[in-house]
Symmetry: C2
Subunit: 340 residues, 2 copies
Amino acid sequence: MNIKKVAEHAGVSTATVSRLINKTSYISPGTAKKVWRAIEELGYHPNVNARGLASGKSSLLGLIVSDIVNPFFPDLVKSFDEAALHHGYEIITANTNYDETRTLLRVRRLIERRVDGVAIMTSEMDQALVDELSTRGIPIVFLDTGKVKENISNIRIDYEQGVSQAVNHLLELGHRRIGYISGPLGLKSARIRRSAFLKFLKKKGIIEEKELVTIGDYKISGGKKAMEKLLKLEDRPTAVLTSNDLTAIGAMQALRSHGLHVPEDVSLIGFDDIALAATTDPPLTTVNVSRVKVAECAFESLLELIKHKTQKGREVHVGTHLVIRESTAKPSPKTRRSGR
Amino acid sequence: MNIKKVAEHAGVSTATVSRLINKTSYISPGTAKKVWRAIEELGYHPNVNARGLASGKSSLLGLIVSDIVNPFFPDLVKSFDEAALHHGYEIITANTNYDETRTLLRVRRLIERRVDGVAIMTSEMDQALVDELSTRGIPIVFLDTGKVKENISNIRIDYEQGVSQAVNHLLELGHRRIGYISGPLGLKSARIRRSAFLKFLKKKGIIEEKELVTIGDYKISGGKKAMEKLLKLEDRPTAVLTSNDLTAIGAMQALRSHGLHVPEDVSLIGFDDIALAATTDPPLTTVNVSRVKVAECAFESLLELIKHKTQKGREVHVGTHLVIRESTAKPSPKTRRSGR
DNA sequence: CGGATGGGGTTGATCGATTAAAAACAAACG
DNA sequence: CGTTTGTTTTTAATCGATCAACCCCATCCG
C-alpha cells in the first residue's frame, strides 16, 4: 500500500496525493474528496521512512534524560511526549544513567536517526557532543545548562526564586539555623541549586556555616544519611531545605527514626513537588517546579527552532512557587538541645 | 555525507560499502580496511531513513505503557530500553494514560513508523487494534494479557505464585482475617490479581468475606481511602494485602493517621517491590516482581519473533518472590477491638 | 482576437540506502 | 589452454515519498 496505489485508485498523480496530505498547496474540493476516499478505502498510511528520506525530516525528537527512575523525569517525559504527539512528532527517550559512554552512544544514534531536534534534560552533557549536534544543524533545547545561540534555546528553572521562597518562609517562621542537603556535587544541577541557597543566605545577612550544608544524592537514602549527619551536630538546625523531594523524604525518615517530629522538632522543605510530596506524613512543604510547564516550554522552544532554522534561540524562564503543607512550623525552642 | 561519497573515497562501489556495514557478505580484508578508513575519515553515519526505506526495517520498537508516572513503568522502560540499545534498536515509548482514543492514535503512529515490533505493557488494549498490528505482520509481545499465536508472545507474571507467597506468609504468622485492596476493577490487571487472591483463599479453606475485599486505584490516595473503609469494619482484618506498593503506602498512611501501628496492629504486604517500598517506615514487606526480568524477557521474546517471522510465539513465565521487611508480624490479639 | 495571468495538476528527478543479478577475476581441473 | 567453479565486486532496479519545473486550460484584459 503506497502513494502510487492511492493515486491510481483516485485517478490522480502521486504529487496530488502528497500535496493533499501535507497541505502544501490548494487542491480543488472535488479532487480532495476523491483522494481522501481512496486513502480511506485502502487504509493507506504514508511511509515515514520514505517521507523522511525525501524531505530530510524525520518528525522524530530526541529527549535525553539522566535518570528516568527519578520521579521528576517521568512527569517531564509524559508532558513532553504529549505535546509532541499533538504536533505530529514522535519522541525517542534516551536514558543516560549519568554515564558518559552511554550518552555518547545515544546521541550518535539520535543523529543517525536524523532527529529533527533534541531536548537535553540532563545537566551532564559533554560540549563535544553538543557540537556534534550543532554542526549538523540540529536544534537543541537545554534544561538549565545551555547557552543560548543559533539553534540552541534554554529553559531556565528559577532556582534563585525557589530558594528564596523557601528560605523566606522559614525566616518568617522564625528559623535562623537552616540546614541544606544538596545533590551530588558532581552534577551541575546540584551545584546550581546549592549556590543559589548559599547566595540567598548571604543576601539575607546570615552567616554561612559549613557544617549545616551537607551532601546527599538526590535519592531517599542520601537524604537519610545527610540528615543523620546534621542531627549529630551540637547545635543542629531547626529547619532543613533539601535539593529535591526524595532527599526530603529520606530526611524525614531519619528524623522519625531518631524520635523527632516534623515539623515540631525540625521543619523540612523539599524541592520539585513530585506527587509523592503530598502524601508523606506529614505532607511535605516544597517548592513546586512544574514539570508540565518545563516540558511544554521545552517543546515549544524546540519546535520554534525547528520551524525557523538558523534562528537565534531564546531563554525561557520557568518560575516556582512554594507549596506550604505541614512539614514546616515555627521553631520550638525547647526542642533545642546539645548533641552530646 | 552519504554512502556514495564513501564509496568514491574508498574507490569501490556503494554496494560494497553497504555490504561491509551490514556484514551481509564476505568482503576481502584489503577492501574492508580501505572502506573502514574512508568511513572513519569522512565521519560517515548511514541514513536510517534510506536504510529503512530500502530494507523495510526501521530498527524501531514501540513500547506501549499505560501510565509512565506509575513507578512500576519507569523501571520497565529503563530495562527494556537498555536491552534494545544493545541490539541496535531504538524505542518509542507510548504512554496511553488508560485512554482509548490516545491508544488508537499512538498505535497508528507506530504502524506508520513501520516499527519492527511492539511491546504492549498495558492490560487495556482493544482487540481491533491488535489485529491492525497483526495483519501487518508486526510482532507483538504482551504483558499478562496476550494469547500466544503467530507473531504474538506473552510474558506472564505469576500472580498466583506471588499471592500465595504473600498469603502463606501471613497464614504462617497466624493471620486469619486478611483484607485485600485491589486496583480499579476496570483494569484487567487488577481483576487478575484480585481473582488470584480470592482463589488462593478458597484453596486454603478460608471463607471469603466480601467486606474484606475493597477497591483502590493503584495509587496512594486510593490505598488510603480503601484502608479507611477497612478500619471502619466491626471486625477488622489483622493483615492486608494490597495490589501494588503504592496502595500499601496509602494504607500505611491511613493506619498511621488513625494512631495504629504497622505491623503491631495491622500487617501490610505490598506488591511489585518498587524502590520506594524499601524506604517506607516501616519498610514494606512486598512481593517482588522483577521489572528487569520482565523487560528483558519481553525484549528477548520480541527479538525472537522479529528474527524468525511467522513463527509461533511463546509464553514466558516470570516468577515472584516475597521480600520480607518489617511491615508484617504476628497478629497481637489485644489490638483487636470493635469498631463502634 | 491574442497574450498575460494564475489556479489546479502532472512529470520526473531526487533523497540514500539495499539487493538481486550480472560481471570480473582467480584458482582448479581435465 | 579452455572450461568450471567459486569468490569478490559492480551494475542498476527498487523502496515510497517530496518538490521544482512544467503543462494545461479557463479567464481576463487591452
